[in-house]
């Protein structure tokens, strides 16, 4: 073959990443050594160095000890075991391979999980003399936990069992029984002798009863492209490229799905939408991008996008939440301290995370559940997590890229745990999960164009928020406004403290934290109603400036209109319809803003109305609505 021909062919090869699990005793290193050796990867001088080492430290008698080729670090060589993940590279005429070589000992679950995280396929070795043992189950569980879709069970050392078909069948049956509930989609079986090279590269004539492929042929031909998720477009923005003031490119790796120029996209968490203008790469502008490509996207509109945001298709949103359930593997020597506020890294997002509860632990040998108060090194369990800001995620089973995260200790900066998010619809504690962030973007507004709604209702879907002390006349003004708007043909919705507290916020009291939660709910209701085109009138004391700002943020600052009804306490006391101040005077109730707690006078309002001038209040507001084309719009 001409060398250019060789290179052109080589260029077309794809890459398969595989994990090998099993102990040295199972012949794992021998298998890897043989795959490398027989694919001509072992360079001459590595071999001669090996012969030198073998004489000094070898464990395999006269034969070449393949394990020595693989054990890199000196300390490990002295112990005679591999203690970390080592990556090996080899290539055949059909494919390139990266082997993550991980040890099989129990205390090194951490390493196996690491190797499995990037693998397409796992080879699990069984010693034919021992059959399916605890270690096999452990490895298989970890492989399924990390979402590997293809498992090759190598029943090794068949030479020591006289290449018996019966022995092999029994092992396969045992394994199938164990593996079924784990739901690994593709499992294959290989009778093999790695030491003698039977069924490793070439089919063995010692086992004529076996009609499948050799291990290498299987590795060369297995189809892995469709393992990638091409359905759900997820593009975590890594970096904003700004070569000039008027150019903004959003750089990232396509986690999943396919994107094309002209695609409608939504930015999370802002919910803003735009269209893909161009897919930019150093090598030109392709007409689509798919996983795992690293590209840069430019958008039609100038909207705010930064690192940690995610671009998605608006009709296919990920989970958006601060609360989720996950499988967690503890990787640190120091046990988990539940009081720690961890740093969490998920896609290109960094925030803080708290473990709300440990729901159960999994015994990786028996797969039985048990309860525990904390995690120790190599323990695996099911947890509920709350993050400081919402994450955009999918179930790990559906999407390895957006379902995975790591926890980092804020003091030591160790990567202490890794997690795989569970499909949130299966969450047992779904009732505890607030879905408001999801609603924020999954607005009904998406179904019908906001402009069409404006035309139908002749109004903008905005919120008019009246703040003021008890007795300042907020409700009266709100009712007047509501009646007038309705009479003139608008479609207003009225929300006030009394009606919301009667149901939606029934369990909340008047303490500052419950007031904040109460108003958060109201704000989200406003947001939903606004999205449906409703003009919402709100009458709430809302004494706290920060909370009012939060409300404005949830509703959207451009849709939020703050009207302050200014009144002194004496006026309010004289206008005290519900005897609130009288009760407070008698000490029966507390937390009355402007009386025994702070009322922040709003600094930035759209209108400030004098409580004494009742006759002008509604009129002033109507002028404001007209001027700002909130109602009427035509």
């Amino acid at each position: 073959m001409e060398i250019t021909e060789f290179l052109d062919q080589d260029q077309k090869k794809d890459l398969l990443r595989l994990l090998t699990a099993g102990s040295v005793d199972d012949g794992k290193s021998t298998l890897i050594g043989r795959l490398l050796f027989d694919s001509k990867k072992l360079y001459e001088d590595q071999l001669s160095a090996l012969e030198r080492d073998s004489k000094r430290e070898g464990h395999a008698g006269e034969e070449i000890d393949y394990a020595l080729l693989l054990d890199g670090l000196k300390a490990e060589r002295e112990q005679g075991i591999t203690i970390d993940v080592a990556y090996r590279y080899f290539s055949t005429a059909k494919r390139k391979f990266i082997i993550a070589d991980t040890p099989g000992h129990e205390q090194y679950t951490r390493n196996m999980v690491t190797g499995a995280s990037t693998a397409n396929l796992a080879i699990i070795l069984i010693d034919a003399r021992k059959g399916v043992i605890t270690q096999t189950k452990r490895h298989t569980f970890l492989v399924s936990l990390l979402g590997i879709k293809h498992v090759a069970l190598a029943v090794n050392k068949m030479d020591l069992m006289d290449y018996s078909e019966a022995v092999y069948d029994k092992i396969c049956d045992d394994y199938k029984e164990f593996i079924t509930p784990l739901g690994i989609p593709d499992v294959r079986f290989f009778p093999m002798s790695a030491l003698k090279g039977e069924n490793v590269v070439d089919l063995s004539d010692k086992m004529p009863w076996y009609h499948g492929k050799s291990m290498l042929e299987y590795l060369e031909t297995i189809h892995i492209t469709s393992d990638r998720n091409f359905e759900d477009f997820r593009f975590p923005v890594q970096y904003v490229v700004r070569p000039s003031l008027d150019y903004r490119g959003f750089a990232g790796k396509v986690s999943s799905g396919i994107v094309k120029p002209g695609d409608d996209i939504m930015v999370l968490p802002s919910g803003k939408t735009s269209r893909v203008k161009e897919i930019v790469t150093y090598d030109g502008s392709p007409n689509m991008a798919f996983p795992p490509q690293s590209v840069t996207l430019t958008l039609e509109h100038e909207i705010d996008v930064s690192r940690g945001d995610m671009l998605v298709h608006p009709d296919n949103l990920p989970g958006i939440s601060r609360h989720f359930e996950s499988m967690l593997v503890w990787m640190d020597e120091k046990p988990m301290d539940l009081n720690t506020q961890f740093l969490i890294k998920h896609t290109s997002n960094n925030t803080k995370a708290r473990i709300d509860s440990i729901n159960h632990m999994v015994n990786i040998n028996t797969l039985e559940h048990f309860d525990a108060k904390t995690f120790e090194l190599n323990e695996i369990g099911h947890v509920t997590i709350t993050t400081a800001k919402p994450l955009f995620f999918d179930a790990y089973k559906k999407n390895r890229q957006t379902g995975a995260f790591v926890l980092i200790d804020p003091r030591t900066h160790h990567t202490v745990a890794v997690g795989m998010i569970i499909d949130k619809t299966n969450a047992r504690q779904a009732h505890r999960i607030t879905q408001h962030e999801l609603q924020k973007v999954a607005q009904g507004g998406l179904l019908i164009d906001p402009v069409q709604k404006e035309k139908r209702f002749n109004q903008k879907g905005h919120t008019l928020w009246i703040t003021g002390l008890h007795g300042s006349g907020k409700n009266e003004l709100a009712y007047t406004l509501y009646r007038e708007l309705f009479n003139q043909g608008a479609t207003p919705v009225l929300l006030d403290g009394k009606s919301v507290r009667a149901g939606l916020s029934r369990e909340l009291d008047y303490s500052p934290s419950d007031r904040a939660e109460h108003l958060r709910r109201v704000a989200h209701m406003c947001r939903l109603l606004n999205d449906q085109g409703m003009l919402v009138i709100c009458s709430f004391v809302s004494p706290d400036n920060a909370v009012r700002e939060q409300v404005a943020e949830i509703i959207g600052p451009d849709k939020f209109h703050l009207f302050y009804l200014e009144a002194n306490l004496d006026f309010c006391k004289s206008n005290d319809q519900y005897d609130i101040y009288k009760k407070a005077d008698r000490g029966e109730i507390q937390h009355i803003p402007g009386y025994d707690m702070q009322y922040d006078i709003p600094q930035k309002t759209q209108l400030t109305l004098n409580a004494l001038e009742k006759s002008h209040q509604a009129e002033t507001i109507f002028q404001y609505l007209e001027k700002n084309i909130i109602y009427p719009v035509s």
Binding site: F6, G72, R110, T118, T225, Q238
Partner: protein, 304 residues
């Protein structure tokens, strides 16, 4: 559209992975630097950085640690391309030791490497307070590198502790460091030597001409052909020079880097030679033979 349209080949997958890593570092570290050795792997790494931020500029500087004993052609190449490509290039060397005249012929390869490479590197990193440094090391180069992380944590003394490396899963990299600590980042960890050559060929990446075979004046030292690159080579050695058709598989300090006899004067011929003459590339670096597991030792001390 068939599923085949979404097929991605090995090099494109490696490229995408490397670009992702480079962007992560640029986004998460305050003051990263890319260590540029002028070698072929470095050249590929720099191209990947240019791709990562296209059409913008690479947002961090390159730094070359000059041992002052590099091949002349390397230095010339470095200066030419840095200028042409508009790289923000820092060249750092151990000034004190250089003035004291430290070199491989007078102080031996071990002292020279330690002082002019390892110490100079640490000095350069400290001087500019870099919190992340990209290196062009590959896992398939050498045994102790097979277990290296993409983000390799270094303590305040730039030391590597193979037993105390952070778990690294998926493509999520832990970029948290305390003041003074740093991360060495290896974005081309998963590339093999053949991948590098193939990429250089496909992308037309310029490399130092020393990689190509040419008649050069060399001295045979214990089976390694050492180039007579300047008059610092001891006279009694230089006198033994003979013209041979040779090329270099790796580049470093000229007295410590052996050439191989070769006719390969194109990338295609280099690959052909590589595939047929099977000798792994680091064997032509004399420093590796200094002691058992020497690379691991050097890594612990702060060298890559």
């Amino acid at each position: 559209m068939s599923k085949n349209s979404y097929h991605i080949n090995n090099l494109k997958e490696l490229e995408a992975e490397s670009i992702h890593i480079i962007r992560e570092v640029a986004a998460e570290f305050e003051n990263p630097v890319m260590l540029y050795s002028i070698g072929k792997d470095s050249s590929v790494m720099v191209r990947l950085a240019e791709k990562a931020f296209y059409p913008g500029k690479v947002p961090f500087p390159l730094m070359h640690i000059d041992s002052k004993w590099k091949f002349k052609e390397m230095t010339a190449f470095r200066d030419k391309y840095a200028k042409e490509m508009g790289w923000d290039l820092i060249v750092h060397y151990n000034k004190k030791a250089f003035e004291e005249g430290v070199g491989p012929y007078t102080h031996g390869s071990k002292v020279h490497t330690d002082v002019m490479k390892t110490q100079a590197l640490l000095e350069g990193l400290n001087k500019y307070k870099f919190d992340a440094a990209f290196g062009g090391a590959r896992r398939d180069e050498e045994k102790s590198r097979a277990k290296e992380r993409i983000y390799s944590f270094r303590d305040k003394f730039h030391q590597w502790d193979p037993k105390n490396q952070r778990p690294e899963l998926w493509d999520i990299y832990n970029a948290k460091v305390q003041k003074g600590e740093s991360i060495r980042v290896f974005p081309i960890s998963n590339w093999t030597e053949l991948d590098i050559w193939q990429y250089i060929r496909l992308e037309n990446i310029p490399i130092v001409p020393l990689y190509y075979a040419k008649e050069r004046p060399v001295v045979n030292v214990d089976g390694n052909y050492i180039l007579v690159d300047d008059d610092r080579m001891p006279k009694e050695m230089a006198d033994k020079a003979e013209m041979r058709m040779v090329r270099f598989r790796t580049l470093g300090c000229y007295p410590l880097t052996g050439a191989i006899e070769s006719e390969a004067d194109t990338i295609e011929k280099i690959v052909e030679e590589m595939m047929t003459v099977t000798k792994s590339e680091r064997t032509t670096r004399v420093i590796d033979f200094d002691q058992e597991a020497s690379m691991e030792q050097k890594k612990r001390e702060g060298y890559f």
